[in-house]
Every structure is written in C-alpha cells, then in structure tokens.
Symmetry: C2
Subunit: 315 residues, 2 copies
C-alpha cells in the first residue's frame, strides 16, 4: 500500500469527524488552512512520543492513539483554549494495517471526544515516533501563562495525582485487579481538563498541566513567575485505589510522578471566592505562592522524588 | 545538560531573530500564541525528515538545519503564503553540542532568510528525526490549492529542475568539481519560492512545490483537479551544469527527481498575459492542462522515471 492510500484509508475519517468551522482546508494539499475568527488568539503546541521512551514497545496501538492526542490536547487545556484541529507526523517502521487500524481508531475516539479535527500530516519510514501539533483558540488576551503567579495566590490542582505514574508498574500485569485497572485507566486514557481550563481562562493567574510531576511542573510556574511556593503535602488529592495499593509511597507518586494530565493553577484568593461552585469543586487548594523563592513542603514528608527531564540528571 | 537548558542554549535565539508581530508568545510555555490579523488565513504544514531515509547518516548538521526548515517553508510558498513562525520537534540519540550547535546555526540562517521565527517545540530521545511545522498567512481566500487547474490553463515551473536529484550522486565526493558543487548547492540549500508564490496568490489556478519530482507532483494537481495534462519535455528548464554532467539522463532527472523545491503552477492564459514581466520571467511554460485525464509527454522521451513514494512500490 502506498503512503497516500494508507493515509486516506486510516486517517481521512479523522478530518471529517470533528467538523470544525475554522478548518477551511484539511489534509491532502501542500498546507491546511484555518480561519481564526476575529477576537480569538491561535494557541498551539507540539508533542512527540517515542517508542521505548514515552511508551513501551508492546503498548496497545489503540491506547496509544488516544494517549498521543490527549497528551497534546492537555496543553490546550493548560492555556484555557478550545481545541480546533491537529496535525499528525507519524514515523513508522512499516505500513502495517494490524497496527494502523487500531491506532487510527484510538486517535479517532480522542478526536471526537475532544472535538478536534485532523488538519494534515506527514507519514515517514523509521522508528515509531508520533508527533502531534494541536491548535486551539482562546479569547484575545485570556490565555493562561506559566508566568503570572503572584505572592498570595492559591495553588490548586484538579482531580487526583499519582495514579498514572503508579500504573507504570502494572502495564505488564496479565490479570490486573480492579484497583490496578482503575490506575491503568488513568495512564491509558488521560482526560485533558479542557472545560476547567476554559472556565479559568482570564481568571487564574497561571496554569500548567501535570505531565512531568507536580513538583517539576509547579517548579516551571515558579521559575517563569519569579516566585516561590508553600505546599501542604497532606492536601494533595489522591485516588483511594492509589493509597490502597501504594501505601506510604502514594504521596511520593502524587508529588513526583507524571502522566496525570491534571491542571495545576494559581489563582488570586479574591478571584477564587468568585468561582462558580461547579468550578471550585473541581479544584483542591494545596498551597500558596510566596515571594521568597524555593518550594517549602509541609505535611507528610516525601522521599526521593523528582520530575522527569528527558536528557537530565537528577536535579 | 538538561533538556531545558539545551533548548535555551541553542534554540532560544531563533525565537527572537525573526521578530514576528503575530507571535504573541514563543517557546517556554505549554503553548505558543499567534494572533492572526483580520483578513488573513492561517496556512500550515508539517514535514518530517528521518536520518537514513531523507538524508544520509553522515549529513552535515549545518546543511540539515537549513534544509529541514527550507523544505517545510516551501509548502508555504506553494500556497502563496508569507511565513510567520514554526515549531521544531527534534528527536535525538543524545544531546551532543557538536551536532546541536551547527544544526541550530543552519536552522537560524534559514529562519532569518525566510523571516520565520521559532514558536515552540519538543525535544525527545530516540533515532534522529526532525519534524517542523510552519505557519504562514495569506489574504482571505487567496491561497493556492492543488485542485483549481482547468483545461486550457498553462503549466509553468520556476527555476530549473533535476539538479538536486543529480546531486545525490555527489554527496560523498571528497573533491567535487565546480559543476558538481553547483548541483550540490541546490540539494543542500533549497530556496523556497516564497516571493513568486505570494505574487501568484489569487491569480494562479493551482500550485504545488516540486518535492517528489515534477511528474509525481504535477500528478497530484491533475488528480486533485480532475484533469489531464500535455507536457513538452523539451521545455523543462535545466541547469547547464546538469546537462554537462548528466548528458542524456539530465531530462529524466528533471522530470522524475525530487528535492528541487521549485513551484509547478497552472495559470489561465488570460491571467498569464497580465503577469508583471518580473513574475513572468521566473516561469517556464512547459505544457497545458487538458480535459482528457492522463499525462501526455511530447518532445525528447524520458526513460524509467517515477516519483518518490515513501512506502510505495513503483506506480
């Protein structure tokens, strides 16, 4: 099967599915065309997943399709943006329908769930590598940066943390328990916090998605904002299954493990007071931004945790 | 050196260099932000280069930096768009400054030459793979598609064809002749036809850049437009050095070899008559669009040529 036929067969349906008005021209030409309505800013991000680095070699292509798009879309959530379209640069060792079909199906499910249409792509031969660039839009000037945190702002996280990181231990489990399955589902099917991000656009002072681990990602906010933070580790929200399975290590995972794709946001207390109940209940307040640099932890002590840096030594 | 430090050191200068008003937020946050002015459409394309497939393993990182961006920008030229910004997804076996420095310098030269600023990226570990997505803008509704060719339209190409394809034979030459150097320069430093594309936006009926070979790329126009074409192979423009070095094979390369990144455009004859002299002289008329499907060649006969398809058998 030739490249062009391959792309048409498996990926063309993703261009039609999410029906985005802004997408004037989808895959098949030299470029795609998006018409951004007046009053909106274009927000975009690119993410690469490499086999053996970001997912195991025998990882389910169906799960991978979802994960690859979800991980990229999570960056739109962190900016408070609404998804529009994405491109897929797919490097494959061969054009194997047994892999392409489930991968494209997982991708299609995510595309539909997040309302994001395939706009274009490139297919090349090589080691399995998936690069996705997502496009979203947000009202002019209301995108959430990492750099806006101010002393006194409350530090909040959405959902629960640590489950996806714990799930890495169970990926090879042939007969996982219900608790293990609950954690595995967090790893396989990340749910970008799009609605929450959009509700906080123009209101939170900063935001980031938790991809590398809470402490590492909060660290990015602190560095970009020129501030410090005080965190009460006892307030980090965790799934009951994580605490059951991991006991004393659960909190370490919640602080240091990545792949959860929850949001970490900072918000001035007077704005927090004005949040709708439906928004506030999505957030756990875990600490406060300080003018002194550095991160102070109170509460149960963590042990030996760190964020993941692709080429890094332990920081 | 950690990933973030690495990116800052080598690539941050590319974010500042091309100074694009539209780029509200560059690298370093969850997303970049572009504000597309009213009246313009966003035009974007993604291209991947894989070591050992799209360039040799010992290929100069400096040349590669230029080539990777030029090849992607060429798709903007084919749409008639003006470059704005790009993202770089770079997969590397290691963070080797001896490779990163010249690669980033070649990339920076291209970034400056084409007026396109780095907006963001991702750096991962794996086999050397370079994915670049370029963003440009064009006046609403004036982008050039592949699908607009009509019977009677003149088929034109810019510059000369075949030189970059011929250069593949000389990549390992330790002491290339001046003629070989002339061809090698076409391979190493493609020059996207941005100005020409912009001048033809809203005027040509279709366009494509010649990346896979003239016959293959013209074939994409014919398929998208539902037309055929008649080409006079004697009219294909070629560099004198190509004819000197390749003799009877020169025309085959001009028809079948890729990597030239010239434009192939179709244009109604009555519009061709209105082109400024400075635009018309950039174009060679090589044939005409026909209502009968298929491609008819007249003039000197080619032998055994075909476009390049990444996973393809010979068509």
């Amino acid at each position: 099967m030739g490249e062009f036929e391959l792309i048409r067969t498996y990926f063309q349906p993703l261009a039609d599915g999410a029906g985005q008005d802004q997408l004037l021209l989808g895959p098949g030409d030299d470029c795609a065309i998006q018409r951004v309505p007046p009053g909106l800013d274009l927000v975009f991000s690119v993410d690469t997943l490499v086999e053996g680095v970001h997912f195991p070699s025998d990882y389910s292509p169906d799960h991978l399709g979802w994960r690859a798009l979800a991980v990229a879309v999570s960056d739109l959530a962190a900016m408070g943006a609404s998804p529009v379209c994405f491109t897929l640069a797919l490097t494959l060792p061969d054009a194997n329908p047994g892999w392409l079909k489930p991968f494209s199906e997982g991708l299609a499910r995510a595309s539909k769930a997040f309302g994001i249409a395939l706009a274009g792509g490139d297919t090349t031969r090589g080691s399995l590598t998936i690069t996705i660039q997502v496009h979203g839009t947000v009202d002019n000037g209301r995108a959430l940066y990492r750099s806006g945190a101010k002393p006194g702002d409350l530090i909040c996280v959405s959902g629960t943390l640590g489950a996806a990181g714990a799930a890495l231990h169970y990926l090879a489990e042939t007969d996982p328990s219900p608790a293990q399955l609950a954690l595995l589902s967090r790893y396989h099917f990340p749910q970008p916090r799009l609605e929450l991000g959009q509700q906080l656009a123009g209101r939170a002072s900063s935001a980031i998605d938790v991809s590398d681990g809470l402490l590492a990602d909060l660290g990015h906010i602190l560095e970009a904002s020129g501030t410090g933070a005080r965190i009460d580790t006892g307030r980090i929200p965790m799934m009951a299954e994580l605490v059951t399975l991991k006991g004393e290590n659960a909190r370490d995972l919640a602080l240091g493990a990545g792949d959860d794709y929850e949001l970490c946001i900072t918000i001035p207390p007077e704005i927090f007071e004005t949040l709708e109940h439906s928004v506030a209940r999505e957030l756990a307040v875990i600490g406060v931004i300080t003018s002194e640099p550095g991160l102070q932890l109170s509460g149960p002590a963590p042990s030996g945790i760190q964020g993941y840096e692709h080429f890094g030594r332990p920081a």
